[in-house]
């Protein structure tokens, strides 16, 4: 914690790591968005005669056990979980910011109730919460979005609340108040610049966590169901064919590793 405040300038190294991270994320995003446009194909079309066959022009990464193009399945998988992850993070940021500022500004019972709630949520492993929400909410996409938002907002709430409390007590904010500026102005000029960098870091970590969770749930068969192209599901399906078609398994593994590494680097240094 104190590390981030006391040392503002180990900049060059961090910036380079961030640039590498951004590049990795962009590469994966380009594959997801441009891939199917460059090479037309259907992620669900089977041709059993080509099962586990190697790469060819129509399927640059070869075929899976049902003769579906790995390339197109991978691209569509990368169009599925990252948007869910980003949507959850945005929801979490909105909720965390609103409730965090509210708790810091109002204090008293509002603060106490919210803090007790987040303390309890912190004690629950995130994946467990997502599993429970997934069982309650109908629909996998909405379930994952709701569950992940519920897990992720706690982090943003805590960051916002801690930073806002410090800022609100500062002489600068008192001066603004005495000059008659309203809460909206104070938030924009005093609070937001203070918490924006932290938010960015936490958002990148949150996105990585969410993508990881979706893939992990797919891998243990509680996430998305069979024909959907999903990263975790692809991996567990292709695992038995490792000897026959190593490239088929390596494609989703590499994709998720590059994506997560990119996001981690983009987030910058943080202890955990």
């Amino acid at each position: 914690m104190s590390e981030t405040h006391t040392s503002p300038a180990p900049a060059p190294r961090l910036d380079r790591a961030r640039a590498v991270g951004a590049a990795l994320v962009l590469i994966v995003a380009a594959l997801a968005i441009l891939g199917p446009l460059a090479v037309a194909g259907d992620p669900l079309a089977q041709s059993l005669s080509k099962a586990l066959a190697g790469p060819e022009p129509g399927a640059p990464l070869g075929y899976d056990q049902y003769g579906r193009s790995i390339f197109h399945r991978l691209a569509h998988a990368l169009r599925l979980s990252p948007p869910i992850a980003i949507a959850s993070v945005l929801t979490a940021v909105a909720a965390g910011l609103t409730l965090g500022t509210l708790a810091a500004a109002r204090g008293g019972w509002t603060d106490r109730i919210l803090v007790t709630l987040t303390d309890a949520l912190l004690a629950l492993p995130g994946l467990l919460l997502v599993l429970i929400v997934l069982a309650i909410v109908p629909g996998k996409v909405t379930g994952l979005w709701a569950g992940l938002s519920l897990v992720l907002w706690v982090e943003f709430f805590r960051l916002t609340r801690a930073a806002t409390r410090d800022t609100l007590a500062s002489p600068a904010v008192q001066a603004s108040r005495l000059l008659g500026f309203g809460p909206g102005y104070i938030f924009r000029t005093h609070i937001w610049p203070e918490i924006a960098p932290m938010m960015l870091t936490a958002a990148a970590f949150g996105t990585a966590t969410a993508i990881m969770a979706i893939a992990a749930l797919g891998y243990v068969h509680v996430g998305f169901g069979a024909p959907t192209p999903e990263l975790g599901l692809m991996m567990v399906d292709l695992l038995p064919y490792w000897r026959e078609a190593p490239l088929a398994l390596l494609s989703p593994v590499t994709a998720i590793f590059v994506l997560l590494l990119g996001l981690t680097l983009l987030a910058g240094s943080r202890e955990t």
Binding site: T116, A123, V222, R243
Partner: protein, 309 residues
């Protein structure tokens, strides 16, 4: 004492939260819960409207919500978790069986991570900027980006499938521990090592450290007399936070390796909508986290008396 009271409050909140969540889950099961449960009990080919109705009657799946919630939470307070909807066994009996397997796995994983991570971190922290330090930064950043299920997959492919050194699944013998524990331990070790490294680098830069060396202690003596305890404080504190990662990992890794523990049971319970089992497993995991952290609060006070003042 104040810390313990706070942890107790946290535990109560966790129980209420899980109790309410599982109750909502019970109420809002997609599809007809009674049919699902009956199918789980009697097999999918043997379900008919009569058996579903019997299940509905037995479990009280109809009726107003609020009294049912209070009764549900009341059962929780009396530590009555009910019976598994699938096997018909009391939840507590099943949990007692699974908790041992999970705890053993988690313990082996933590010990493994502590053997791998902190020694490397301390060595790196003694020479900041050195070769080991830079290598460790790259490796630990890479490992942190590998989710546990992916690590499990890589280990299975390399050690079990390719070289046939270790069994990919199974339970009972010591060698069955190695792969699942290693899958959990690598991620933990990556974080452990970084924390130990940062703490070591910070301490080695302090005046008392230089004084100890100046008065003639060898590096080894300085480390054992003045270094280890200081490094242990952040390490133990983070161990509590890492427990969340560990529990999440246990859920996934057990499911991957077919380990007969709480995580495996939770995934299965979610899958078959076995709400009492979900509640039981979730409670054990959540309260386990609070308990471990209470223990860690106390341990940190023992290690660093300044914290208590």
């Amino acid at each position: 004492m104040k810390v313990l009271a706070a942890r107790l409050g946290q535990a109560v909140m966790v129980a209420v939260l899980i109790g309410t969540a599982t109750f909502v889950m019970m109420r809002s099961l997609p599809g007809d819960a009674a049919w699902r449960i009956a199918a789980g009990r009697y097999g999918y080919d043997n379900v008919d409207a009569a058996s579903a109705a019997a299940v509905r009657e037995e479990l009280g799946l109809d009726g107003p919500a609020l009294p049912a919630l209070l009764q549900w939470l009341g059962d929780l307070v009396r530590l009555d978790f009910g019976k598994s909807l699938v096997t018909g066994q009391p939840v507590t009996a099943e949990l007692a069986h699974q908790l041992g397997a999970s705890a053993a796995l988690a313990l082996v994983a933590v010990v493994m991570s502590l053997v791998i991570g902190p020694p490397l971190g301390i060595l790196a922290g003694l020479r900041p900027g050195g070769l080991l330090d830079r290598a460790l930064l790259v490796v630990s950043t890479g490992l942190k980006a590998v989710p546990q299920f992916l690590m499990a997959l890589v280990l299975i492919v390399i050690l079990a499938v390719q070289f046939r050194l270790l069994p990919a699944a199974g339970h009972g013998e010591a060698r069955h521990f190695i792969l699942p524990a290693l899958a959990l331990a690598t991620g933990l070790a990556a974080v452990n090592a970084r924390i130990a490294r940062d703490a070591m680098a910070r301490i080695a830069d302090m005046q008392f450290w230089r004084f100890a060396q100046w008065k003639g202690l060898s590096e080894r003596q300085t480390l054992t007399r003045h270094g280890l305890r200081n490094v242990a404080v952040p390490l133990v504190t983070y161990l509590g936070l890492q427990f969340v990662t560990l529990v999440e990992g246990v859920i996934v890794v057990e499911a991957v390796f077919g380990w007969p523990g709480i995580g495996h049971a939770l995934v299965h319970a979610i899958f078959s909508r076995d709400v009492p089992m979900v509640q039981g497993t979730a409670l054990v995991l959540g309260l386990g986290f609070v308990l471990v952290n209470a223990g860690i609060d106390l341990a940190v006070r023992r290690l660093d008396p300044r914290a208590a003042a």
